[in-house]
Amino acid sequence: MSAPAKHVDVLAAADDLRRRTLAGMAQPLERLIYLASTRDYNTGLYYHHGLALRFSEESACEALADCHREAFEELVDASLEQLVHELEAYLESTRVAPNDFIVAWKGLEPYRVAIPVGIDSLSSELVFSNLKVALAILEARLTARTKPGASRHPSPVQ
C-alpha cells in the first residue's frame, strides 16, 4: 500500500474507532486506560480485533496509537478540577469499591504504564503529579462522605 493510501486508511480506522468503541467513553482518562490496555506490553503494538478485520492490522495499530496520544494530550490540558471529575466518573464506571480503587491506584500507580510511547517526560510527569493530587482529593472526599464504606475485601496493595 502506498504511503498516502495507508494514511487515509489510518484516518478512516481512527474515525471508526472514535465513532464506535470510544463513543461510549466520554472521559479522556477512561479512553487512555482502555487504549493502553489494547497495547501489547512486550511489543508495544496495539491490537483491536474488530478494527483489524475492518481495516488492516497495521492501520488499526496506528489508529489506536493516534487515539491514545489524543486522549493523553487531553489529560495534559485538563485542569485539576476536571481531572478530579474524570477520576470520579472513571471510578463509578469500574464498579469497584471506592476504597479498593483508591488503595490500588495509590499503591500500584497503574496510570504510569498507560502512557503512549514517545511522550515528553515533563508532560507525563505533570499528568502523574495531577493524578496523585486528584486521588488525594477524591480520597479525602470519600472519607468525609462515609466512614462505613470500607471494603470487605483484603487490600490488593500492601
Binding site: V76, L126, K132, V133, A136, I137
Partner: protein
C-alpha cells in the same frame, strides 16, 4: 647504555604523540552534522515539548491552586504545592539544559561563518545571557516563593526563550524538509538524485 635510554625516550615520546593524535580524532569536529542535528533536537524539544503556551499555563495556572485551597484540607494543599514546585523545577531544568545546547551550537556556528551580522550576534548574546540569568532568578524564586510567586519571571523567560528559538530556527532553516525539497527540485534538472 646512554644510547638505549635515548632510544627508549624516543619510543615513549612517539607513543605519547600517537595517543594525543588518537584522542584528537575522537573529539567532535566543529560544524559537523551531529552538532546541527543536536541543535535541531534541542530546538524541537523547546518549541514542542517545553515552551508551548498550554503546558506553561497548566504548570503555573492559579486556577488549580484556588481549586485545591477552596475544596481540600490543608495537607492536600501542601501536597499540591510540593508537586507543582517539583514539576516547575523540572521544567526549568529542562529549559536551561536545552538553552545551553542551543548556545553551544551558536558559539560553534559563529566560528564557522565569516559573514555575520554584528547586531544579530550582539542581540543573540544578550538574549542568551538574559535567559541564563532569568533561569537562575526563576530557580531562586521557585525555591523561595513556590510556583505561584514567579509569574512575571516565567513570562520574561518564555519571551526570551521564544526569541532565541526564532533566531535558531533561522540558522537551522536549511534542515527543514521544504528546503530539502527545493534542493531536490533544483538537482532534478541535472539528473542528480538526492
Amino acid at each position: 647504555m646512554i644510547g638505549l635510554v635515548l632510544y627508549l625516550l624516543v619510543g615513549v615520546g612517539l607513543l605519547v604523540i600517537l595517543w594525543v593524535l588518537a584522542r584528537r580524532e575522537r573529539a567532535p569536529v566543529e560544524g559537523c552534522g551531529r552538532q546541527f542535528v543536536e541543535a535541531r533536537q534541542a530546538l524541537r524539544t523547546l518549541q514542542l515539548g517545553l515552551l508551548p503556551d498550554n503546558l506553561i499555563k497548566r504548570i503555573f495556572d492559579r486556577e488549580d491552586f484556588r481549586y485545591v485551597m477552596a475544596t481540600s484540607p490543608g495537607e492536600i494543599g501542601e501536597l499540591f504545592l510540593q508537586e507543582r514546585k517539583r514539576i516547575s523545577l523540572m521544567w526549568l531544568r529542562r529549559v536551561r539544559c536545552e538553552i545551553r545546547n542551543l548556545m553551544q551550537f551558536h558559539l560553534n556556528y559563529s566560528r564557522l561563518h565569516a559573514k555575520l551580522s554584528l547586531l544579530t550576534e550582539i542581540r543573540l548574546a544578550l538574549d542568551f545571557t538574559l535567559l541564563l540569568l532569568a533561569c537562575r532568578a526563576l530557580r531562586m524564586l521557585l525555591y523561595m516563593r513556590g510556583p505561584y510567586g514567579a509569574g512575571a519571571m516565567v513570562s520574561v523567560l518564555t519571551a526570551a526563550a521564544g526569541r532565541v528559538c526564532a533566531s535558531s530556527e533561522k540558522s537551522l532553516a536549511f534542515l527543514n524538509p521544504p528546503a530539502l525539497e527545493s534542493i531536490r527540485r533544483d538537482s532534478a534538472g541535472d539528473g542528480a538524485t538526492i
